[in-house]
């Protein structure tokens, strides 16, 4: 069963996901293209000139499209690699980058920046993965790696592991990374699909990062992602198999009673997971680029998150500094009961 079972189909009569596949002319003939076309033989395939002809159309409704997502297969043009965003905790670590093998996500979390970043709810898959991989090899040769390894987040604008049963890109990237010296990749996910890579031998060069939240937050703001217990089950299996695992308590949503909710949540999580074995933990509150935030608002979002009181700090919309610093300090203290403080990366 795929992870799409978690979607809330509130409107009857909608097409199943991927009823239409838009195929860029330049993407024809790639192995990943053939894999996907074989996987969805009943999809209507429409040839297009450039992926932006579909993805960047005017008049799209992101949320409506998320109820019936289509696939766009395209060939990525340069740049293949981007410097890390200042929204991530590690952005000050030397040689930290991200790339975009896929644009958009199977899930539709209410706090996610993708809904403000992209005009479309459809998913773009770049089928020329070798070009993306080669760009990393070239960069590795140019960097001064005495400062530390090159770190690439390959799941920044998507959830690669959630897509693994649709297209096995996460496993291909893992195999690629294993062959490179001085390269670490981070695969961030909310998936419960560790089983899809369970036969791959673990590697210290690949960090599997799971975003998890208290059940009440999952139900309210992450309703299209797998439930908390399924995610935790996957995390446990990954840790047992020797994978470096990062837990992302990010974003922390400061709902009523947040302190009690998160404290109990940490207790619950560290009762099940062996905190000694964790690679590290990231912690941060809700934040979003101002333009993305305004885009979401313009689209008449029904999420209450976008009607709260925030501040604009250097074009980042977030919780007021005093409130977030206090909250994050409290939560860091709580987490440090289980894991050393230096392993807790906080976005302040």
């Amino acid at each position: 069963m795929t992870e799409t079972r978690f979607f809330d189909l509130s409107v009857k009569n909608l097409q199943a996901n991927f009823s239409h596949i838009y195929l860029e002319k330049d993407a024809v003939g790639y192995e990943l293209t053939d894999l996907l076309l074989d996987k969805y033989p009943n999809s209507k395939v429409i040839e297009i000139g450039h992926y932006k002809d579909i993805f960047n159309r005017k008049g799209q409704d992101f949320q409506s499209q998320k109820s019936s997502m289509n696939l766009i297969l395209a060939k990525k043009k340069e740049p293949f690699l981007y410097p890390a965003s200042d929204m991530v905790q590690e952005f000050k670590t030397p040689h930290t980058y991200y790339n975009t093998p896929i644009l958009n996500c199977l899930y539709n979390c209410e706090y996610c920046f993708l809904q403000g970043m992209y005009p479309s709810g459809n998913i773009v898959i770049f089928v020329n993965e070798n070009d993306l991989m080669n760009s990393i090899k070239i960069k590795l040769k140019k960097l001064n790696l005495s400062l530390g390894p090159m770190i690439v987040s390959i799941s920044y604008n998507t959830d690669l592991m959630a897509m693994e049963r649709i297209i096995p890109m996460a496993s291909r990237w893992i195999e690629f990374c294993k062959e490179q010296d001085n390269l670490k990749i981070e695969i961030r996910t909310k998936s419960a699909l560790f089983s899809s890579i369970k036969n791959i031998r673990s590697s210290k060069n690949i960090i599997l990062s799971w975003t998890i939240s208290p059940e009440i937050i999952c139900n309210k703001y992450e309703s299209t992602a797998p439930p908390l217990n399924s995610r935790v089950d996957s995390i446990k299996k990954a840790m047992d198999a020797g994978w470096p695992v990062r837990l992302c308590f990010d974003p922390v949503i400061l709902v009523d009673d947040w302190y009690k909710i998160y404290t109990q949540f940490f207790e619950q999580i560290f009762e099940v997971l062996d905190h000694q074995k964790l690679h590290d933990i990231t912690l941060g509150v809700f934040r979003m680029n101002k333009d993305y935030f305004n885009n979401v608002r313009k689209r008449e979002t029904r999420s209450d998150l976008y009607y709260l009181d925030y501040v604009n700090e250097d074009s980042t919309i977030t919780i007021k500094k005093e409130k977030r610093e206090k909250a994050l300090a409290c939560l860091k203290d709580e987490i440090s009961k289980y894991i050393p403080k230096e392993k807790i990366l906080v976005w302040i």
Binding site: L14, Y22, I46, K58, Q60, D61, D304
Partner: protein, 272 residues
């Protein structure tokens, strides 16, 4: 509200009869309506489409509108079947080379096809066209998509000829027949398409807007304050879809200071 757009009078007639639409003479062009279904005769070719659609939109501005273009088209003998209705998934404008792509979110039973919009009638057997061919789709899609979300636009075409000399001989009765014989499919599609309206319900109802406007008038709000009130009202409605907005029993403020004080307190109440 659903708005059918058709080019020829003989295409419109079976639809008007089937849906028992009545002529509304307040428009200077053919316009027929019954409850929340209407039909605009847009004429043949591109030239009248924009004016007629915009004129309609300006009168029904407060409605959520779905546009459905229904009409006949020429087809390629090898890729289409005469009398068959198709849902269009790609529109190519022959003159500009631009392509348009409707968002087909609704589950449907119709075969899909692409269409090319030309500015002249094609009678050479359509050797250059693998797609269907018509004279309006690209302009209809272009105009509608500038005024509504693209998933609210659908184009249904029935193949009436194979772009040969028979096209010139197409009788009015034959066109009526092509539309009439597909009414069941059209009916079924419109009904499914309408269910998409559930995705498009605005946060604020007409009653909500009446309350917002009355507060704005009562307090003589500035444009910025009006936008803030709109935003906080949406937040209130997102959190609570049923409760009434707070009542405001105050005399009209005597100064800007008073107005701002009342406004701040109202905003606090809406966000609490």
């Amino acid at each position: 509200m659903q708005c059918i757009l058709s080019a020829l009078k003989v295409e419109s007639e079976p639809l008007i009869d089937h849906y028992r639409l009545s002529r509304d003479h307040s428009f200077s062009f053919p316009f027929f309506i019954r409850d929340d279904l209407c039909l605009i005769g847009v004429g043949v070719g591109k030239h009248n489409i924009k004016n007629r659609i915009l004129s309609f939109i300006s009168k029904f501005r407060s409605e959520t509108i779905q546009f459905i273009n229904i009409g006949i088209a020429g087809g390629n003998r090898e890729t289409s079947e005469k009398g068959q209705i198709y849902l269009i998934n790609q529109i190519i404008d022959n003159e500009t080379g631009r392509s348009f792509y409707p968002d087909i979110l609704i589950k449907h039973d119709l075969p899909e096809h692409s269409i090319t919009t030309t500015e002249r009638v094609i009678l050479d057997g359509g050797r250059d066209y693998r797609n269907l061919v018509d004279m309006e789709s690209s302009e209809i899609f272009d105009v509608c998509s500038k005024n509504t979300s693209i998933h609210k636009i659908a184009i249904l075409k029935i193949v009436s000829d194979y772009l040969d000399l028979d096209t010139a001989k197409l009788t009015k009765d034959r066109v009526r027949y092509f539309i009439s014989s597909n009414l069941e499919a059209i009916d079924s599609f419109l009904s499914k398409f309408r269910s998409l309206e559930n995705l498009d319900k605005p946060i604020l109802s007409k009653e909500d807007y009446i309350w917002i406007d009355s507060i704005s008038n009562q307090l003589s709000l500035t444009k910025t304050q009006y936008q803030q009130l709109l935003h906080f009202s949406k937040g209130f409605r997102v959190r609570d879809s049923k409760s009434n907005y707070p009542s405001l029993y105050v005399d009209p403020p005597e100064s800007k200071y008073d107005r701002n004080k009342i406004f701040r307190s109202l905003c606090e109440e809406l966000t609490s």
